[in-house]
Symmetry: C2
Protein backbone atom coordinates (compact mmCIF):
# COMPACT_ATOMS: atom_id res chain seq x y z
CA UNK A 1 0.00 0.00 0.00
CA UNK A 2 1.32 3.40 -0.96
CA UNK A 3 2.04 5.77 1.86
CA UNK A 4 0.51 9.21 1.75
CA UNK A 5 2.87 12.17 1.73
CA UNK A 6 3.50 14.69 4.45
CA UNK A 7 3.14 18.46 4.41
CA UNK A 8 5.80 20.17 6.53
CA UNK A 9 5.01 23.81 7.24
CA UNK A 10 8.00 25.87 8.35
CA UNK A 11 7.13 29.29 9.67
CA UNK A 12 8.34 31.95 12.06
CA UNK A 13 8.93 35.67 12.46
CA UNK A 14 10.38 37.64 9.54
CA UNK A 15 14.15 37.63 9.57
CA UNK A 16 14.49 34.53 11.74
CA UNK A 17 16.35 32.72 8.95
CA UNK A 18 13.71 30.20 7.85
CA UNK A 19 14.63 30.62 4.16
CA UNK A 20 18.28 29.77 4.80
CA UNK A 21 17.25 26.85 6.98
CA UNK A 22 14.87 25.45 4.35
CA UNK A 23 17.43 25.74 1.55
CA UNK A 24 20.01 23.90 3.66
CA UNK A 25 17.43 21.24 4.55
CA UNK A 26 16.45 20.70 0.91
CA UNK A 27 20.08 20.62 -0.23
CA UNK A 28 20.81 17.78 2.21
CA UNK A 29 17.73 15.69 1.54
CA UNK A 30 16.90 13.79 -1.61
CA UNK A 31 13.41 12.79 -0.51
CA UNK A 32 12.00 16.27 0.12
CA UNK A 33 10.28 18.63 -2.28
CA UNK A 34 9.74 22.34 -2.10
CA UNK A 35 6.21 23.59 -2.55
CA UNK A 36 6.06 25.84 -5.62
CA UNK A 37 4.06 29.03 -5.08
CA UNK A 38 1.78 30.88 -7.47
CA UNK A 39 2.63 34.53 -8.00
CA UNK A 40 1.33 37.46 -9.97
CA UNK A 41 4.75 39.08 -10.24
CA UNK A 42 6.47 38.98 -13.63
CA UNK A 43 8.93 36.19 -14.20
CA UNK A 44 12.59 37.18 -14.22
CA UNK A 45 15.13 35.98 -16.78
CA UNK A 46 16.04 32.36 -16.09
CA UNK A 47 12.87 31.60 -14.15
CA UNK A 48 10.65 28.82 -15.44
CA UNK A 49 6.91 28.56 -14.92
CA UNK A 50 6.26 25.67 -12.52
CA UNK A 51 9.81 25.60 -11.19
CA UNK A 52 10.55 28.76 -9.17
CA UNK A 53 6.91 29.83 -9.32
CA UNK A 54 3.69 29.30 -11.20
CA UNK A 55 3.30 32.66 -12.93
CA UNK A 56 -0.33 33.83 -13.22
CA UNK A 57 -2.13 37.09 -13.95
CA UNK A 58 -3.98 38.93 -11.19
CA UNK A 59 -7.28 37.87 -12.78
CA UNK A 60 -6.25 34.22 -12.76
CA UNK A 61 -5.03 34.56 -9.17
CA UNK A 62 -8.34 36.12 -8.14
CA UNK A 63 -10.20 33.20 -9.71
CA UNK A 64 -8.01 30.73 -7.82
CA UNK A 65 -8.94 32.45 -4.55
CA UNK A 66 -12.64 32.39 -5.44
CA UNK A 67 -12.51 28.71 -6.41
CA UNK A 68 -10.70 27.73 -3.21
CA UNK A 69 -7.66 26.63 -5.17
CA UNK A 70 -5.19 28.23 -2.76
CA UNK A 71 -4.17 26.81 0.61
CA UNK A 72 -3.02 30.26 1.65
CA UNK A 73 -2.24 33.53 -0.03
CA UNK A 74 -0.95 37.00 0.74
CA UNK A 75 -0.22 40.32 -0.93
CA UNK A 76 3.33 41.63 -0.82
CA UNK A 77 4.46 44.90 -2.44
CA UNK A 78 1.51 44.93 -4.82
CA UNK A 79 1.89 41.31 -5.92
CA UNK A 80 0.07 38.22 -4.83
CA UNK A 81 1.68 35.00 -3.65
CA UNK A 82 -0.10 31.78 -2.77
CA UNK A 83 0.18 28.04 -2.36
CA UNK A 84 -1.72 26.08 -5.02
CA UNK A 85 -3.80 23.31 -3.56
CA UNK A 86 -3.63 21.14 -6.72
CA UNK A 87 0.19 21.10 -6.64
CA UNK A 88 0.45 20.22 -2.93
CA UNK A 89 -2.25 17.56 -3.09
CA UNK A 90 -0.75 15.95 -6.19
CA UNK A 91 2.62 15.65 -4.45
CA UNK A 92 1.03 14.34 -1.24
CA UNK A 93 -0.79 11.68 -3.26
CA UNK A 94 2.56 10.67 -4.77
CA UNK A 95 3.77 10.04 -1.21
CA UNK A 96 6.15 12.98 -1.19
CA UNK A 97 7.23 15.09 1.75
CA UNK A 98 6.67 18.74 0.89
CA UNK A 99 8.35 21.66 2.59
CA UNK A 100 6.19 24.77 2.73
CA UNK A 101 8.05 27.85 3.96
CA UNK A 102 5.59 30.62 4.79
CA UNK A 103 5.01 33.54 7.11
CA UNK A 104 2.92 33.29 10.26
CA UNK A 105 -0.32 34.48 8.64
CA UNK A 106 0.05 31.89 5.86
CA UNK A 107 0.80 29.21 8.44
CA UNK A 108 -2.50 30.00 10.15
CA UNK A 109 -4.43 29.58 6.89
CA UNK A 110 -2.79 26.23 6.13
CA UNK A 111 -3.40 25.05 9.69
CA UNK A 112 -7.12 25.50 9.15
CA UNK A 113 -7.01 23.17 6.13
CA UNK A 114 -4.39 20.61 7.18
CA UNK A 115 -4.47 20.54 10.96
CA UNK A 116 -4.60 16.72 10.89
CA UNK A 117 -2.02 15.71 8.33
CA UNK A 118 0.40 18.62 8.44
CA UNK A 119 3.53 19.03 10.55
CA UNK A 120 3.86 22.59 11.84
CA UNK A 121 7.29 23.85 12.81
CA UNK A 122 7.96 27.29 14.23
CA UNK A 123 11.45 28.75 13.94
CA UNK A 124 12.45 31.04 16.80
CA UNK A 125 15.45 33.28 17.25
CA UNK A 126 17.93 32.42 20.00
CA UNK A 127 16.67 33.11 23.50
CA UNK A 128 15.90 36.58 24.68
CA UNK A 129 18.95 36.68 26.86
CA UNK A 130 21.10 36.01 23.80
CA UNK A 131 19.12 38.42 21.63
CA UNK A 132 19.12 41.13 24.25
CA UNK A 133 22.86 40.73 24.90
CA UNK A 134 23.58 40.90 21.20
CA UNK A 135 21.54 44.06 20.77
CA UNK A 136 23.14 45.73 23.78
CA UNK A 137 26.58 44.46 22.83
CA UNK A 138 26.39 46.33 19.57
CA UNK A 139 25.92 49.57 21.43
CA UNK A 140 24.17 51.04 18.40
CA UNK A 141 20.55 50.78 19.55
CA UNK A 142 18.92 52.79 22.27
CA UNK A 143 17.32 50.97 25.20
CA UNK A 144 13.91 52.00 23.85
CA UNK A 145 14.57 50.39 20.45
CA UNK A 146 15.83 47.23 22.17
CA UNK A 147 12.74 47.07 24.37
CA UNK A 148 10.47 47.53 21.33
CA UNK A 149 12.20 44.73 19.44
CA UNK A 150 11.96 42.39 22.41
CA UNK A 151 8.28 43.23 22.92
CA UNK A 152 7.49 42.55 19.25
CA UNK A 153 9.34 39.25 19.35
CA UNK A 154 7.27 38.29 22.40
CA UNK A 155 4.06 38.99 20.51
CA UNK A 156 5.15 36.88 17.57
CA UNK A 157 6.04 34.03 19.89
CA UNK A 158 2.40 33.86 21.00
CA UNK A 159 1.82 31.96 17.76
CA UNK A 160 4.07 29.11 18.86
CA UNK A 161 1.21 27.40 20.68
CA UNK A 162 -0.46 26.61 17.33
CA UNK A 163 2.61 24.72 16.13
CA UNK A 164 3.75 21.16 16.80
CA UNK A 165 7.45 21.92 17.11
CA UNK A 166 9.73 24.80 17.96
CA UNK A 167 13.25 24.95 16.59
CA UNK A 168 15.66 27.59 17.81
CA UNK A 169 17.77 28.95 14.97
CA UNK A 170 20.97 29.49 16.86
CA UNK A 171 23.37 27.24 14.97
CA UNK A 172 22.35 26.53 11.34
CA UNK A 173 23.74 22.99 11.22
CA UNK A 174 22.11 22.04 14.50
CA UNK A 175 18.78 23.54 13.47
CA UNK A 176 18.82 21.63 10.15
CA UNK A 177 19.55 18.38 12.01
CA UNK A 178 16.54 19.06 14.22
CA UNK A 179 14.31 19.62 11.19
CA UNK A 180 15.51 16.35 9.66
CA UNK A 181 14.87 14.52 12.94
CA UNK A 182 11.35 15.92 13.16
CA UNK A 183 10.58 14.61 9.66
CA UNK A 184 11.99 11.15 10.46
CA UNK A 185 10.07 11.04 13.75
CA UNK A 186 6.81 12.12 12.12
CA UNK A 187 7.20 9.28 9.64
CA UNK A 188 7.30 6.90 12.62
CA UNK A 189 4.29 8.53 14.26
CA UNK A 190 1.59 5.95 15.01
CA UNK A 191 -1.04 8.13 13.36
CA UNK A 192 0.85 7.94 10.06
CA UNK A 193 1.91 4.29 10.01
CA UNK A 194 -0.07 1.79 7.97
CA UNK A 195 0.24 -1.74 9.30
CA UNK A 196 0.78 -5.04 7.63
CA UNK A 197 -2.23 -7.28 8.03
CA UNK A 198 -2.47 -10.24 10.42
CA UNK A 199 -2.47 -12.57 7.43
CA UNK A 200 1.05 -11.58 6.45
Amino acid sequence: MQKKGMLVVISGPAGVGKGTLCRALLAQSTNLDYSVSVTTRASRPGETDGKEYFFRSKEEFQKMIENGELLEWAEFLGNFYGTPRFHVEAMLNQGKTIILEIDIQGGKQVKNLYSEGGVFIFIVPPSFTVLSNRLRGRGTESEEVIQNRLARAHEELENVKDYDYVVENNDLKEAVEKLKSIIVAENCSTKRVVFFSKEE
Copy 2:
Protein backbone atom coordinates in the same frame (compact mmCIF):
# COMPACT_ATOMS: atom_id res chain seq x y z
CA MET B 1 15.26 27.05 34.77
CA GLN B 2 16.19 23.41 34.78
CA LYS B 3 14.47 21.28 32.18
CA LYS B 4 12.65 18.22 33.40
CA GLY B 5 13.78 14.91 32.02
CA MET B 6 12.00 12.76 29.49
CA LEU B 7 10.90 9.19 29.94
CA VAL B 8 11.20 7.21 26.71
CA VAL B 9 9.30 3.93 26.90
CA ILE B 10 10.43 1.38 24.33
CA SER B 11 8.18 -1.63 24.13
CA GLY B 12 7.07 -4.33 21.74
CA PRO B 13 6.56 -8.08 21.45
CA ALA B 14 9.12 -10.43 23.00
CA GLY B 15 11.88 -11.30 20.57
CA VAL B 16 11.41 -8.16 18.49
CA GLY B 17 14.94 -7.05 19.32
CA LYS B 18 14.17 -4.12 21.59
CA GLY B 19 17.03 -5.04 23.91
CA THR B 20 19.60 -4.97 21.10
CA LEU B 21 18.12 -1.72 19.79
CA CYS B 22 18.24 -0.05 23.19
CA ARG B 23 21.82 -1.13 23.82
CA ALA B 24 22.88 0.26 20.44
CA LEU B 25 20.98 3.49 21.13
CA LEU B 26 22.60 3.91 24.54
CA ALA B 27 26.05 3.10 23.17
CA GLN B 28 25.74 5.92 20.63
CA SER B 29 24.29 8.55 22.93
CA THR B 30 26.03 10.25 25.83
CA ASN B 31 22.94 12.02 27.08
CA LEU B 32 20.70 8.99 27.64
CA ASP B 33 20.37 6.73 30.64
CA TYR B 34 19.04 3.24 30.90
CA SER B 35 16.39 2.46 33.45
CA VAL B 36 17.47 -0.73 35.17
CA SER B 37 14.66 -3.17 35.92
CA VAL B 38 14.21 -5.45 38.85
CA THR B 39 13.63 -9.11 38.00
CA THR B 40 13.17 -12.39 39.76
CA ARG B 41 14.48 -14.42 36.84
CA ALA B 42 17.88 -16.08 37.18
CA SER B 43 20.79 -14.13 35.77
CA ARG B 44 22.22 -15.43 32.51
CA PRO B 45 25.96 -15.88 32.05
CA GLY B 46 27.65 -12.49 31.73
CA GLU B 47 24.85 -10.52 33.40
CA THR B 48 25.70 -8.36 36.41
CA ASP B 49 23.34 -7.37 39.20
CA GLY B 50 22.48 -3.65 38.90
CA LYS B 51 23.66 -3.46 35.30
CA GLU B 52 21.33 -5.50 33.07
CA TYR B 53 18.87 -6.02 35.94
CA PHE B 54 18.56 -5.84 39.68
CA PHE B 55 18.19 -9.54 40.47
CA ARG B 56 15.88 -10.09 43.43
CA SER B 57 14.02 -12.99 45.03
CA LYS B 58 10.25 -13.30 44.66
CA GLU B 59 9.87 -12.37 48.32
CA GLU B 60 11.89 -9.21 47.88
CA PHE B 61 9.93 -8.35 44.72
CA GLN B 62 6.62 -8.85 46.54
CA LYS B 63 7.73 -6.39 49.22
CA MET B 64 8.58 -3.80 46.57
CA ILE B 65 5.07 -4.14 45.09
CA GLU B 66 3.48 -3.79 48.52
CA ASN B 67 5.55 -0.71 49.31
CA GLY B 68 4.67 0.96 45.99
CA GLU B 69 8.31 0.96 44.95
CA LEU B 70 7.58 -0.16 41.39
CA LEU B 71 6.46 2.09 38.57
CA GLU B 72 5.21 -0.98 36.77
CA TRP B 73 5.61 -4.68 37.14
CA ALA B 74 4.50 -7.84 35.40
CA GLU B 75 4.77 -11.57 35.51
CA PHE B 76 6.11 -13.18 32.38
CA LEU B 77 6.59 -16.93 32.00
CA GLY B 78 6.74 -17.41 35.75
CA ASN B 79 9.12 -14.56 36.51
CA PHE B 80 8.52 -11.01 37.71
CA TYR B 81 9.89 -7.86 36.12
CA GLY B 82 9.50 -4.30 37.37
CA THR B 83 10.76 -0.75 37.22
CA PRO B 84 11.95 0.87 40.44
CA ARG B 85 10.02 4.12 40.81
CA PHE B 86 12.54 6.13 42.81
CA HIS B 87 15.34 5.32 40.38
CA VAL B 88 13.34 6.70 37.42
CA GLU B 89 11.94 9.73 39.20
CA ALA B 90 15.34 10.76 40.55
CA MET B 91 16.77 10.67 37.02
CA LEU B 92 13.84 12.67 35.59
CA ASN B 93 14.31 15.33 38.24
CA GLN B 94 17.96 15.56 37.21
CA GLY B 95 16.73 16.43 33.69
CA LYS B 96 17.89 13.16 32.18
CA THR B 97 16.39 11.29 29.28
CA ILE B 98 15.68 7.78 30.46
CA ILE B 99 15.20 4.79 28.24
CA LEU B 100 12.77 2.30 29.71
CA GLU B 101 12.68 -0.98 27.84
CA ILE B 102 9.66 -2.96 28.98
CA ASP B 103 7.02 -5.38 27.81
CA ILE B 104 3.60 -4.26 26.68
CA GLN B 105 1.78 -4.76 29.95
CA GLY B 106 4.41 -2.69 31.72
CA GLY B 107 4.06 -0.03 29.05
CA LYS B 108 0.35 0.20 29.86
CA GLN B 109 1.03 0.74 33.55
CA VAL B 110 3.62 3.44 32.86
CA LYS B 111 1.24 5.07 30.39
CA ASN B 112 -1.29 5.47 33.18
CA LEU B 113 1.28 7.31 35.29
CA TYR B 114 3.18 9.25 32.62
CA SER B 115 0.76 9.71 29.75
CA GLU B 116 1.62 13.41 29.60
CA GLY B 117 5.36 13.46 29.90
CA GLY B 118 6.34 10.09 28.47
CA VAL B 119 7.28 9.18 24.90
CA PHE B 120 5.91 5.79 23.93
CA ILE B 121 7.62 3.85 21.15
CA PHE B 122 6.48 0.46 19.91
CA ILE B 123 9.00 -1.77 18.13
CA VAL B 124 7.52 -4.10 15.52
CA PRO B 125 9.17 -6.98 13.69
CA PRO B 126 9.49 -6.79 9.90
CA SER B 127 7.22 -9.83 9.76
CA PHE B 128 6.28 -12.78 11.88
CA THR B 129 8.60 -15.05 9.93
CA VAL B 130 11.54 -12.96 11.04
CA LEU B 131 10.30 -12.85 14.62
CA SER B 132 9.87 -16.62 14.68
CA ASN B 133 13.37 -17.18 13.28
CA ARG B 134 14.85 -14.82 15.85
CA LEU B 135 13.21 -16.63 18.75
CA ARG B 136 14.41 -20.00 17.44
CA GLY B 137 17.86 -18.58 16.74
CA ARG B 138 18.36 -17.91 20.44
CA GLY B 139 18.14 -21.65 21.07
CA THR B 140 17.12 -21.02 24.66
CA GLU B 141 13.38 -21.55 24.33
CA SER B 142 11.31 -24.68 23.68
CA GLU B 143 9.02 -24.89 20.61
CA GLU B 144 6.00 -24.58 22.88
CA VAL B 145 7.34 -21.38 24.40
CA ILE B 146 8.06 -20.02 20.91
CA GLN B 147 4.52 -20.82 19.71
CA ASN B 148 3.09 -19.13 22.78
CA ARG B 149 5.22 -16.07 22.17
CA LEU B 150 4.17 -15.79 18.52
CA ALA B 151 0.49 -16.07 19.42
CA ARG B 152 1.00 -13.44 22.04
CA ALA B 153 2.89 -11.17 19.65
CA HIS B 154 -0.19 -11.11 17.40
CA GLU B 155 -2.33 -10.01 20.31
CA GLU B 156 0.26 -7.52 21.45
CA LEU B 157 0.33 -5.69 18.13
CA GLU B 158 -3.18 -4.53 18.94
CA ASN B 159 -1.55 -2.26 21.52
CA VAL B 160 0.24 -0.15 18.95
CA LYS B 161 -2.60 2.35 18.97
CA ASP B 162 -1.69 3.38 22.54
CA TYR B 163 1.84 4.35 21.49
CA ASP B 164 3.11 7.59 19.99
CA TYR B 165 5.55 6.01 17.54
CA VAL B 166 6.12 2.74 15.73
CA VAL B 167 9.60 1.68 14.64
CA GLU B 168 10.10 -1.39 12.50
CA ASN B 169 13.18 -3.31 13.53
CA ASN B 170 14.35 -4.44 10.13
CA ASP B 171 17.78 -2.86 9.88
CA LEU B 172 19.40 -2.19 13.28
CA LYS B 173 21.28 0.94 12.23
CA GLU B 174 18.22 2.44 10.58
CA ALA B 175 16.01 1.65 13.57
CA VAL B 176 18.50 3.24 15.98
CA GLU B 177 18.62 6.38 13.82
CA LYS B 178 14.84 6.55 14.01
CA LEU B 179 14.89 6.25 17.80
CA LYS B 180 17.49 9.04 18.02
CA SER B 181 15.40 11.24 15.71
CA ILE B 182 12.30 10.66 17.80
CA ILE B 183 14.15 11.83 20.92
CA VAL B 184 15.51 14.94 19.16
CA ALA B 185 12.06 15.74 17.75
CA GLU B 186 10.34 15.27 21.11
CA ASN B 187 12.79 17.73 22.62
CA CYS B 188 11.57 20.25 20.01
CA SER B 189 7.92 19.46 20.68
CA THR B 190 5.98 22.59 21.58
CA LYS B 191 4.44 20.88 24.59
CA ARG B 192 7.92 20.28 26.07
CA VAL B 193 9.55 23.59 25.34
CA VAL B 194 9.67 25.86 28.35
CA PHE B 195 9.86 29.45 27.28
CA PHE B 196 12.00 32.03 28.85
CA SER B 197 9.91 34.42 30.91
CA LYS B 198 9.25 38.03 29.93
CA GLU B 199 11.41 39.11 32.84
CA GLU B 200 14.43 37.24 31.53
